[in-house]
Amino acid sequence: ELKVEQNPLFLSMQEGKNYTIYCNYSTTSDRLYWYRQDPGKSLESLFVLLSNGAVKQEGRLMASLDTKARLSTLHITAAVHDLSATYFCAGDYTGTASKLTFGTGTRLQVTL
């Protein structure tokens, strides 16, 4: 059974600072996903990481995947207030290819 753990659960950071959210998973995952959820809104797909060493970037967010370490990271560069949201990682695995297992989420608060 795939288990996904995120840390930290809550992150308060100042604008302009850099930080990383970590996502560990317990068994082989075929793909690793990052989603964003704004307060009161639905989840929105950010990145899909398909293979070891994959790196995806959009704006101030960069996601990477290390399948050997069973670790994905979401790096935030020079945070801005608009990035305040909850970020989830999720994995899936062969055999139940349509199912995702989500982490607990990281609530990011960027203060001015």
């Binding site: 639905s42 398909l50 999720a90």
Partner: protein, 115 residues
């Protein structure tokens, strides 16, 4: 754009009531999912369906059932609502696994309070 619509944003029900949560998607997706979201627990899968009239239990199916009579609609049923089912419920859909991606598209959620 994919649209997943949940019929209610907020619901208040009484203990013991039968509750229906409805979800409709407009992208002809085969797969549909129901999750509940609770603080500190993330999203937990209740049920999912990969075809009309097909369903599979997720991680926390107890106290819930589902119905999928048409491809675009997936209903979550609480047969006898209890206070521990107070939560945010999220519906999602996804196409068949093609191109090595499996992105799920989510509705805005239904916040259910059971009193």
């Amino acid at each position: 754009d994919v649209k997943v619509t949940q019929s209610s944003r907020y619901l208040v029900k009484r203990t013991g009531e039968k509750v229906f949560l409805e979800c409709v998607q407009d992208m002809d997706h085969e797969n549909m999912f129901w999750y509940r979201q609770d603080p500190g627990l993330g999203l937990r899968l209740i049920y999912f369906s990969y075809d009309v009239k097909m369903k599979e239990k997720g991680d926390i199916p107890e106290g819930y059932s589902v119905s999928r009579e048409k491809k675009e609609r997936f209903s979550l049923i609480l047969e006898s609502a209890s206070t521990n089912q107070t939560s945010m419920y999220l519906c999602a859909s996804s196409p068949p696994l093609t191109g090595a991606k499996n992105i799920q598209y989510f509705g805005a959620g239904t916040r259910l309070s059971v009193l």
